[in-house]
Amino acid sequence: MTVASRDNTVPTLEVRHLRTHFETRAGVLPAVDDVSFTVPRGRILGLVGESGSGKSVTGFSIMGLVDAPGRIVGGEILFQGRELTGMRPAELRQLQGNRIAMIFQDPMMTLNPVMRVDAQMIEAVRAHSAASHKQARELARDTLGMMGIPSPEERLRAYPHQLSGGMRQRVAIAIAMLHRPDLIIADEPTTALDVTIQAQILSEVQKLARQHGTALIWITHDLSVVAGLADEVAVMYAGRIVEQGPVDAVLDHPLHPYTAGLIGSLPSLNKRGQRLRQIPGMTPNLLTMPPGCAFAARCQRVSGACRQAPAITSPDTLRQVRCFHPGQPAVTAEFA
């Protein structure tokens, strides 16, 4: 571990102007476009957005797992002050799984179906340490126990298909936790689980982040998960962060109309018998993005100014928003 990681002034992760593009036959697809955020030690960032908003690609970019035709075309990813983009594969592999770990979306798919749980966990341990087979197995068992898995010894001998979904996801999270990483990127890991197991996993993950000082990026489309778990939230739309700030402030007083729309479309906020609210229109096709604000076509506050692309502005020191008309009920009220 470097000295820098102990120093609280250097954040665990700093992403600056990250741009990841997919060069497809139909044209260049800017999946992630100018994304910047910081995650300090022991803090949890919720990365929220619809399908295709670029939140998963952001996670994959940090992990160095973007495959052709995708490519990081610009920006910096600083992990404990070290630049990750352009790092040699061998050097990056030292960090992957060891200091930076990822938990994937589908617990059914992330475990190898023909390998027993112990074989997979031992392999993950020994990829980064000189531990003996026996030591590695003990570490695997202890980590499973830490994730609240009953009788971990028997789970170790199981094949993935013999475990329930919740159990499998906890095994996947345990694999991510094996080396007590400094940063975990969780890509919608609880989406496929039922709410009781989801709540349990969330509380365990939160506890682990606090205890070990692990920084966490929780990618999700579920605002209620973010509300309960994260310290900070960043809302992505069409490859860009449109709003960012402390989770309570953003959810209570959303500045960007898209954030407001997301919160408004939560069914729990509706009165009984009332029609469910939704954001009209669809996410734009990234290949044929109109110039100007990407959300303009669906926005109620749209005005002539929105033909230009809005820049990030900070209404106060903690919050950032990418909108010409932040935090206003309607544009007419302002100009009337």
């Binding site: 797992l65 770990a101 994937f104 798919m109 990829a127």
Partner: protein, 310 residues
């Protein structure tokens, strides 16, 4: 721990049950649930055992010239030998060889050639297929165009060309069959590896910082095996018939090591003079062997095909 999870996991708590549930054991259980497949497997086992223990089972070593009696030539099935010590159950050929003994010794050659070539071709083809899938680009193109080229020629023609060049011999036949067959495995292995390498568990393994070599051999290869096993089992049968064809045409194994195909060829000239047994019984043996292998192979295909699994 929540009560929900405990309830869900009690069914899995028995360690005995866990061990029985490995993927391969499930396949085995599925396999044995088919009566025809078990019949094929038993038949195949009998044939293999008979071939292995041929010297103990047969009354005569048909290639030890000292044991042959030319006076016994072309005897009908069931005839007693000249010395009266045993009878020729399936008759004798033109040199007084016991057909039954000849079949078991021939089966040895046929099975060795079939299994040997399928194994070597399987290993070589799988590795080349994985290499093509993993390396991509020019390596992929070169390997796969070679595969296309090989598969676009009729195999019997290519085999005759190679053997005409190499000359007769068991090893040469094996080599020829390997050259002909690796392409099937390579194509299947590449396709399967490309599918598997897109799976999330491979992505997850990469995210754990596990080296590429370990991912290919430890994670991707085991998941590619089921279709390759099916191809292998059916290719053994194909190799045996192809070898029989080549030997029948006089291009395969030498007269000193006759396979079933050569035995059939030996009796061919007597077919029209009512001495049918010299060709007929080796032919039946070949048929039974190939059918037995195909019964096993077909069931393996059903059991291992992910699309047919519930």
């Amino acid at each position: 721990m929540s009560a929900i999870d405990n309830a869900a996991s009690t069914a899995q708590a028995d360690p005995q049950a866990l061990r029985r549930e490995s993927p391969w054991r499930r396949v085995a259980a599925d396999f044995f649930s088919s009566r025809t497949a078990v019949f094929g497997l038993v038949l195949l086992a009998i044939l293999v055992l008979a071939a292995i223990f041929a010297p103990l089972v047969t009354p005569q070593n048909p290639y030890d010239l000292m044991q042959l009696d030319v006076m016994d030539a072309r005897l009908a099935p069931g005839a007693a030998s000249g010395t009266g010590t045993y009878s020729y159950w399936l008759g004798t050929d033109g040199q007084g060889r016991d057909i039954f003994s000849g079949i078991l010794y021939g089966l040895r050659i046929s099975l060795t050639v079939g299994v040997g070539s399928a194994l070597i071709a399987g290993i070589a083809g799988t590795l080349l297929g994985l290499l093509a899938a993993y390396a991509g680009g020019r390596v992929d193109s070169v390997i796969m165009r070679t595969v296309d080229l090989l598969l676009s020629f009729p195999s019997i023609l290519v085999a005759m060309m190679i053997l005409a060049f190499l000359g007769k011999g068991v090893l040469n036949v094996v080599l020829t069959l390997v050259i002909l067959e690796w392409a099937y495995y390579a194509r299947a292995a590449r396709g399967q590896a490309l599918v598997e390498s897109r799976r999330e568990y491979v992505e997850a393994a990469r995210g754990q910082g596990i080296s590429n070599w370990r991912i290919v051999v430890g994670h991707i290869l085991p998941n590619c095996l089921p279709p390759l096993i099916v191809i292998g089992s059916l290719q053994v049968a194909r190799a045996i018939t192809l070898e029989a064809t080549l030997s029948f045409l006089g291009l395969g194994v030498p007269v000193t090591e006759p396979s079933l195909g050569l035995l059939i060829a030996n009796g061919y000239q007597f077919m029209l003079s009512d001495e049918y047994w010299i060709s007929f019984f080796p032919g039946i043996a070949l048929l039974v062997t190939v059918v037995a292998i195909n019964l096993v192979g077909d069931r393996l295909r059903d059991v291992l095909n992910p699309r047919l699994q519930k």
